[in-house]
């Protein structure tokens, strides 16, 4: 029971922190570009404003269009409950493993892409088509990175992977883990719609991917979708932070341990936000048809990770 409550607790934590994380990345980016930028808490204000606005939907849209924001939000939140952020219960966490996490996220993408097609605009279809292309090509990399981690841990359970690295700190700097980290980092940029794959700040029709897909959304629907994309960023950051560098995660239920874990986790998030912001200021957006090349680089990295994990086992 405590297991489930902790999962829900971590989900709620993610829910609260996710908009802030998006804000932090934007704020660091603004500073790096010599802009003053909006304050880090701006996304909270945006969400509040969107929730207060009317929803306008297209006259061609069906019930699917109205269901999708709820479905995307709930599947992403469900994943946030599964991914360890500050606490990990060892040795078992039998609700969902890494594969489940990946496929639950795909569930959200699937419906979002359908909703992009629903109002019948060219932009929505364009966004859906591109989003599904990138999601499909990123999939093998994710699976292989999971394999790379699972080989050493002997499990696809998130708890097992964390426990294995905690028990053998040397694993974190093993070639298998480092390569898998690099592969998953590239995938993170693709899946969360970051530069150089997609530009979250643009609304230039011809280059956008994620934003084109959700162009017809407004009001509370848009708020739910924006919140869900924030959650997705949070989830990928948590995976990167805690699967590869699990130190600081609380393994016992004491207030002290939880508090320390919370601060360590915030530190890790801030570090990743800084890295992402630096990358986003340094690189230009890739042409759409160069993206598969980048993703095949990540695929090769993941494959090398599996092979080296395998040989060094």
């Amino acid at each position: 029971m405590a297991n489930y409550l902790l999962g829900i607790g971590q989900g709620l934590l993610a829910l609260v922190l996710a908009p802030g994380l998006v804000g932090i990345v934007r704020w660091i980016k603004a500073r790096l570009q010599n802009r003053r930028g909006a304050p880090p808490w701006q996304p909270y204000l945006d969400l509040g404003k969107l929730f207060a606005k009317d929803v306008v939907i297209s006259n061609h849209a069906s019930w699917l269009f109205r269901l999708t924001p709820y479905l995307v939000f709930s599947s992403t939140l469900a994943v946030a409950c599964l991914v360890p952020s500050v606490f990990v219960l060892l040795p078992f966490d039998g609700i969902g493993d890494l594969l489940t996490v990946v496929y639950l996220l795909l569930l959200g993408t699937f419906f979002l892409a359908l909703a992009g097609l629903d109002p019948g605009t060219a932009f929505g279809g364009m966004g859906s088509s591109r989003e599904m292309t990138i999601a499909a090509i990123a999939e093998p990399t994710i699976a292989l990175a999971i394999f790379g981690l699972a080989v050493r841990a002997g499990s696809t359970n998130l708890g097992h992977i964390v426990a294995q690295t905690l028990a053998n700190p040397g694993l974190a700097v093993s070639p298998g883990h480092l390569l898998a980290f690099a592969a998953l980092f590239i995938v993170t940029m693709a899946e969360t719609g970051r530069l150089p794959i997609d530009n979250p700040a643009t609304h230039l029709e011809l280059t956008m991917i994620h934003e084109a897909m959700i162009l017809e959304y407004s009001g509370r629907y848009l708020a739910l979708i924006e919140w869900a994309s924030g959650l997705k960023l949070f989830i990928f950051f948590s995976l990167l932070a805690n699967l590869f560098a699990p130190w600081g995660l609380a393994t016992v239920l004491t207030p002290m341990a939880l508090l320390t874990a919370g601060f360590v986790f915030l530190g890790k998030l801030a570090l990743l936000a800084l890295v992402v912001a630096v990358i986003e200021t340094r690189v230009a957006k890739l042409r759409l048809f160069r993206v598969p090349e980048l993703l095949s680089v990540s695929f090769v990295l993941a494959l090398l990770s599996v092979i080296s994990s395998f040989l060094l086992r």
Binding site: I57, G94, G96, L107, G120, T121, P140, F147, H160, A223
Partner: protein, 677 residues
């Protein structure tokens, strides 16, 4: 009780055939035919359930029938029982659907008599295939199944292309049949009357070369039925032209009997083999999966698209079975069990969701009169039930949780991911490659079904036919609803059926997994806790959150207003279907990414205004992908046959005198041969 089920099944199918022969027309006739099929399939299903529940095989031999070949020997073991259940699960909805769907064949162009007769015969033959217990029985009913399904494929024989597709199917089925005849005669040492029991006991003593030859022949012979690449060419031709409930049966059940045959020969009769067997099966599976989905992506004919997805899913099933064979050859029995369970479960799941999708495609075809997705759109408002059921099928085949496709793909993934336990690195390295290909397959499948559902059902209708579409009749909706319910049910509570797979595999191959290895209570768990997940809890969690969001929005007083307005068109008003994204456009990025494979040819002709190049009259654009297999493999093959046929044609002059000469020469030659040899 159990002994009455088999005669009941034969009786029901026979009555169905008689009803078809009598007329098969009108409401009464169509439903009588369907009733025969429904009752027959239900009796078969009950027989399967009884055998699995009791754990004891059921057998009978009609020595009087075909006494020259040892009689018609039948035996239902757990594997056969599983496939009987699978036939029943798809055949019952398909028959209900068919009774209503075949109404539009009452126009006089189509023979309902042939359709009804062959439907019942086809179902009977399929049921007998999984019961057959001797060489002759198996080959006899296998051929009956191929022939009856051929007549079902050519039901709409007045439509262009149907006969050609039927010919391809017939040719591929018989190439496969030749392999099977050689296989069984090799295994039995030339004895036509051999029972499976004697083949089984004799197989252990066969030299390795013969065993390998039998395995390869089984892969080719059963592979041509299952549709593994490169023997898949008949699927995208035959499935679209057949009536939709027949497509559902062929894609859901018929091709699965190829899997049945492979399991029967490789696991049961031969009792497993060297590692390379598993690697070969795994390799063909991976190639079929990836190529199947890649070709499906480029397809805009809804039923052809689904046919290519059958190739893909057969690939996924074979990946599970191949992994199982590899593990078995190294004695890693719990892992082998995991692979086989994944393969078998995916067999069941694919039968259900592909049956559902073909019935859904049939409803769309029924309502719009076209299979071309580019002429559809907006059907979700006109056919809400069909759209909902098709969406469930599409999500299930894309392996999205919490539906059944996800569970079996998860199990196959777990089997492949456990590959690191293999002692030999050169074999184990195959596994990550397979994992990558399986992941690519499922990602592309999701993209393909966003296209299939999105273009067909969403947005604005692209043709007047689509605009005037109507929801299909109640029996058709019921049939789809039943299958959709199973997709959800098996996804949320898979552990209600998974223990039976353990039993089936254990009985088939003698693999016994320790009872604690598979914890299927509320959580699915891989051997030794390699991976765990609880589909039930995930489904409950998703539903809970889904319900809580609107509640929270109300509690926190979010704005509940909703206005309906026209779609934003950059200031341009008057949105038309021509502004929508098309299926071709949707698949274009992937076509470019995989251009090396597709080798697309483009033709663009622009008709300018005679006075100025700045005004365009019309633009014509057409693009096609290279059909490699038809062109490179089958093209030359067909050419050789055509050349030979042309040469033989010279013998046929049409002159009676010449034929009399041929006859007398042949007769004299035969007499001479008979005298001196």
């Amino acid at each position: 009780m159990i002994s009455n089920l088999f005669p009941g099944m034969v009786l029901a199918y026979s009555l169905g055939m008689l009803a078809a022969l009598a007329s098969g027309r009108g409401v009464m006739g169509r439903w009588l035919v369907a009733l025969g099929a429904i009752l027959g399939a239900a009796a078969g299903l009950a027989l399967g359930v009884a055998v699995i529940a009791s754990g004891t095989p059921w057998a009978m031999n009609t020595a009087a029938l075909f006494s020259f070949a040892g009689g018609l020997a039948l035996r239902v073991d757990s594997l056969g029982a599983f496939f009987l259940i699978l036939i029943g699960i798809v055949a019952i909805p398909a028959a209900v659907y068919g009774a209503s769907y075949s109404k539009h064949y009452e126009d006089g162009h189509t023979s309902l008599r042939q359709l009804g007769l062959m439907l019942n015969l086809f179902l009977l033959c399929m049921s007998l295939v999984v019961m057959a217990d001797s060489l002759f029985t198996f080959l006899f009913v296998w051929e009956g199944m191929s022939l009856s399904s051929y007549f079902l494929v050519i039901t709409e024989n007045s439509q262009p292309g149907t006969m050609r597709a039927g010919l391809w199917y017939l040719a591929m089925a018989h190439i496969g049949f030749v392999f099977l005849v050689i296989l069984f005669l090799l295994a039995s040492g030339g004895d036509w009357a051999a029972s499976f029991a004697s083949i089984r006991s004799g197989a252990a003593g066969l030299p390795d070369a013969v065993r390998n030859a039998i395995f390869l022949l089984a892969l080719a012979g059963f592979g041509s039925k299952a549709g593994i690449v490169p023997l898949h060419v008949w699927l995208p031709m035959a499935h679209p032209v057949a009536p939709s409930h027949i497509s559902a049966l062929m894609s859901g059940v018929l091709i699965k009997l190829g899997i049945y045959g492979l399991l029967r020969v490789a696991l049961d009769l031969l009792g497993g083999g060297p590692t390379w067997w598993g690697v070969v099966v795994l390799g063909f599976g991976a190639i079929s999966a990836v190529l199947g989905v890649l070709y499906a992506l480029m397809e805009h004919d809804l039923k052809r698209l689904l046919a290519y997805h059958s190739v893909e899913n057969i690939g996924i099933i074979l990946m599970g079975i191949g992994a199982g064979l590899v593990f078995q050859s190294y004695g890693l029995m719990t892992l082998a069990m995991l692979g086989f369970i994944g393969g078998l479960f995916h067999t069941l799941n694919h039968a259900i969701f592909k049956g559902l999708l073909f019935l859904g495609a049939g409803s769309v075809l029924h309502a719009t009169g076209t299979r071309n997705m580019e002429e559809m759109g907006g059907l979700i408002k006109r056919m809400p039930w069909t759209a909902l059921f098709f969406l469930i099928g599409a999500a299930a085949i894309s392996a999205l949780p919490p539906l059944n496709g996800f569970i079996s793909e998860w199990l196959v993934f777990q089997a492949l991911l456990s590959g690191f336990q293999l002692p030999r690195p050169e074999v184990a390295i195959v596994m990550p490659l397979a994992v990558g290909m399986l992941a690519l397959t499922s990602g592309l499948a999701a993209a393909c079904f966003v296209k299939a559902f999105g273009i067909t059902f969403l947005a604005i209708p692209r043709s007047t036919e689509a605009e005037q579409a109507h929801e299909v009749a109640l029996p058709m909706r019921l049939a789809m609803g039943l299958l959709a319910f199973l997709c959800v049910g098996l996804g949320v509570v898979p552990f209600t059926v998974t223990p039976f797979f353990t039993q089936i595999i254990a009985e088939l191959s003698g693999i016994s997994a320790p009872p604690t290895a598979f914890n299927f209570n509320w959580t699915l768990q891989n051997t030794a806790g390699f991976g765990q997940m609880s589909p039930t809890l995930i489904a409950i969690g998703l539903l809970l959150i889904l319900g809580l969001i609107p509640l929270c929005l109300r509690i926190f007083r979010a704005n509940q207003k909703l206005r309906v307005s026209s779609t934003w068109g950059c200031g341009y008003t008057g949105q038309t279907p021509r502004m929508e994204y098309t299926a071709t456009a949707f698949a274009e990025p992937l076509r470019r990414v995989f251009a090396q494979l597709y080798r697309p040819t483009r033709e663009l002709s622009i008709d300018f205004h005679p006075d100025s190049k700045y005004f365009v009259h019309s633009i014509e654009y057409s693009s096609e992908i290279t059909p490699w297999f038809e062109k490179v493999i089958y093209g030359p093959l067909v050419g050789v046959f055509r050349f030979a046929a042309n040469q033989f044609r010279r013998l046929q002059s049409g002159s009676l005198h010449l034929y009399l000469l041929y006859i007398s020469i042949t007769l004299i030659l035969l007499l001479v041969v008979a005298r001196w040899l």
